[in-house]
């Protein structure tokens, strides 16, 4: 584990390549500047750092929610900066799975429908028919197979996060972005959720980028990017 490295390991293909990225929010003095960042295929990367250091902004840039003014962001060899809105939407729904700190499950959909949501909100996705068995399989695998007909309000936080992970993985994306996925969980569930993310990442050979404040849970990651350190480097 190389705490300070911003380059991918020699032995894996590059999934994400960031070069000379600069981003600043309107009316803000904070500027995110990443001279170079590589993340390899199948890597499990933790992003740590103080609040406001730009960790979530990085995830938003990597997923095309925010488009950086300068620099290059490549995903699987494709330039994200130059993609149209519709291309960015398709990239997110097909190639990226999202896991959030507060789960972001839709309260009016049951577990089954929440997991299949990506298939319903983007017309470029195939229909939901035939995806039910995958949703059931994921839920069984994550230990929430008996919750398919339940609504989020009837689930514990740990169960909600497992459902959110199922939603993120329903279409086998090559990249999973997890923003503080353990932030709302008790210590037992924190370890369990990370274990699940690692296992699923291994099983699908997907890249996992996790923003976290839980330094005691960093052991399982292949690489840790510390934004505090990174900021210092950027400032040099």
């Amino acid at each position: 584990m190389d705490l300070k490295s911003l380059k991918k390991p020699e032995n894996c293909e590059s999934l994400i390549q960031v070069t000379n990225l600069k981003f600043q929010y309107p009316r803000s003095t904070f500027e995110l500047h990443i001279p170079e960042l590589q993340i390899g295929d199948g890597e499990k990367v933790a992003v740590i750092g103080p609040s406001g250091s730009g960790k979530t902004t990085l995830l938003n840039i990597l997923s095309g929610i925010i488009v950086a003014e300068t620099g290059q962001v490549e995903f699987n060899g494709q330039q994200i900066n130059t993609m149209s809105d519709s291309e960015l939407r398709n990239l997110r729904v097909k190639q990226i799975g999202f896991v959030f700190q507060d789960f972001k499950l839709l309260e009016y959909l049951n577990v089954y429908d929440n997991i299949l949501l990506p298939y319903r909100i983007n017309s470029s996705m195939p229909g939901v028919s035939g995806r039910g068995s995958k949703a059931r399989e994921l839920c069984e695998h994550l230990g929430v197979g008996d919750k398919l007909s339940k609504y989020p309000k009837h689930l514990s936080h740990g169960e909600k996060q497992r459902i959110a992970i199922s939603r993120a993985l329903i279409n086998d994306p090559p990249l999973v972005l997890a923003d503080e996925p353990t932030g709302n969980l008790d210590p037992d569930n924190k370890a369990l959720i990370l274990e699940i993310l690692f296992k699923m990442s291994d099983a699908n050979n997907s890249t996992l980028i996790t923003v976290t404040h839980d330094h005691e849970l960093l052991d399982g990651f292949d690489r840790i990017i510390d934004f505090a350190d990174f900021q210092k480097r950027a400032a040099l």
Binding site: D85, R92, F98, I121, R167
Partner: protein, 392 residues
């Protein structure tokens, strides 16, 4: 599109209380003006058809509207009466024939209409069961009276006393029901028809009692002479007319001076009608002869003005409800900002999100329209009763 409908449906059913309140608010706003339009239109049709089928009505001078409403719809508002001989006077003109109407009393909430048998021919009314009345004391009841009071030919019906505390006033008369009229979908369905003489008996102008020639009890017969017998309050008065006591019923005085509320006059032709109206308007002082169509037309003009006021009110209420609807949606979108951003993050386009929200609104409006359509449909079943109960 299918997915947008599905998500919209899920959202609406999950928030069912909010959805129901919005749906019914919109449904009522759609239904009210349409329903009122139908109600007024049906009322106009029914009122005009009843008025059009009644050529002329004679009555005591006063409000022509009250006279027409009392004669056509048997409303129990007290109107001044004219005397029975006026019917004979009209008949003697040779312009047509008259039908007396006496509508001042009721039985169990339904008007008792004293008239002649000509009334049934004139209105094309025939009994569904039984027969028309033949003698005093018999009555034939309308279709709705029979249905609501669960009565049939062979039963009896007692006229309502005017006041429970007026012992000297109108005594209840037990009337034999001899027939039930066919359903006509007119105010005749809600009336009890008797011979006009029966209404005079109800009034107390005619009565039946023990034969005083045969009674010698001094507590009953107070004074006896060759020509008159004076009886006291102990004298037994009949409250039902049957074959045994029919001959004991009699009227005091000249029945031509007895009251009727109005006369329906059927002229031979339009010329006869015009001539009679001219003669009455130029010579008659106490009585009036009105054309019901003209009176009802005037009444409908007033209703039309009220309808216009209602329409304006509905527009304002509709605008207010639309604003509240918009506010509820705007607040709801603000509350759902996080949810919509989640959809955007995981790959939904803004257009798709707008489509889902639009579908929710469309479903609400379509369901509201359906509900108001059902309300409109159901209104059709009760509109006649509603018109008879509240409008006419």
């Amino acid at each position: 599109m299918k997915d947008s409908i599905y998500l919209a449906y899920r959202y609406l059913t999950y928030n069912r209380v909010r959805s129901l309140v919005l749906t019914f608010s919109v449904a009522i706003i759609i239904f009210l003006p349409v329903g009122l339009k139908r109600l007024i239109s049906e009322s106009e049709d029914q009122m005009l058809s009843r008025a059009n089928s009644t050529p002329l009505i004679a009555g005591k001078k006063g409000s022509p509207t009250d006279l027409v409403i009392n004669t056509l719809y048997f409303q129990q508002e007290k109107i001044e009466t004219l005397t029975m001989d006026y019917a004979a006077i009209l008949d003697e003109t040779g312009f047509g024939y008259s039908i007396p109407v006496m509508s001042s009393y009721s039985a169990r909430g339904f008007p008792i209409v004293g008239t002649s048998l000509d009334y049934f021919d004139f209105r094309n009314l025939s009994p569904e069961s039984g027969r028309l009345f033949g003698v005093v004391g018999e009555c034939v009841i309308g279709f709705n009276v029979a249905r609501r009071l669960d009565l049939q030919a062979g039963d009896s019906l007692i006229s309502s006393p005017e006041s429970f505390f007026d012992f000297a006033g109108v005594y209840p008369l037990k009337m034999d029901i001899v027939g039930v009229l066919d359903h006509s979908n007119t105010p005749d369905d809600d009336a009890i028809f008797v011979d006009v003489k029966t209404t005079w008996i109800i009034m107390g102008l005619g009565h039946g009692h023990q034969d005083l020639v045969q009674v010698y009890d001094p507590t009953i017969v107070l004074e006896r002479s060759d020509s008159t017998v004076t009886a006291g309050a102990k004298l037994f008065m009949y409250n039902q007319i049957d074959p045994e006591n029919l001959d004991e019923f009699h009227f005091h005085g000249d029945i031509n001076s007895y009251p009727i509320t109005s006369i329906i006059f059927i002229p031979e032709n339009q010329k006869a009608s015009a001539l009679l109206r001219g003669r009455i308007e130029s010579g008659e002082i106490d009585n009036q002869l009105v054309v019901p169509t003209l009176v009802v037309d005037n009444l409908l003009q007033s209703i039309f003005r009220i309808k216009q006021i209602f329409n304006s009110v509905f527009v304002i209420v509709g605008l207010a409800v639309s604003l509240i609807f918009g506010l509820v949606i705007a607040l709801s979108l603000r509350l759902r900002k996080d949810e919509l951003y989640t959809m955007f993050t995981i790959g939904s386009g803004k257009r798709k999100i707008a489509q889902i929200i639009g579908m929710e609104l469309l479903l609400l409006v379509v369901i509201s329209a359906l509900i108001s359509g059902i309300m409109y449909f159901i209104t059709g079943f009760f509109i006649d009763e509603f018109i008879n109960a509240f409008i006419i």
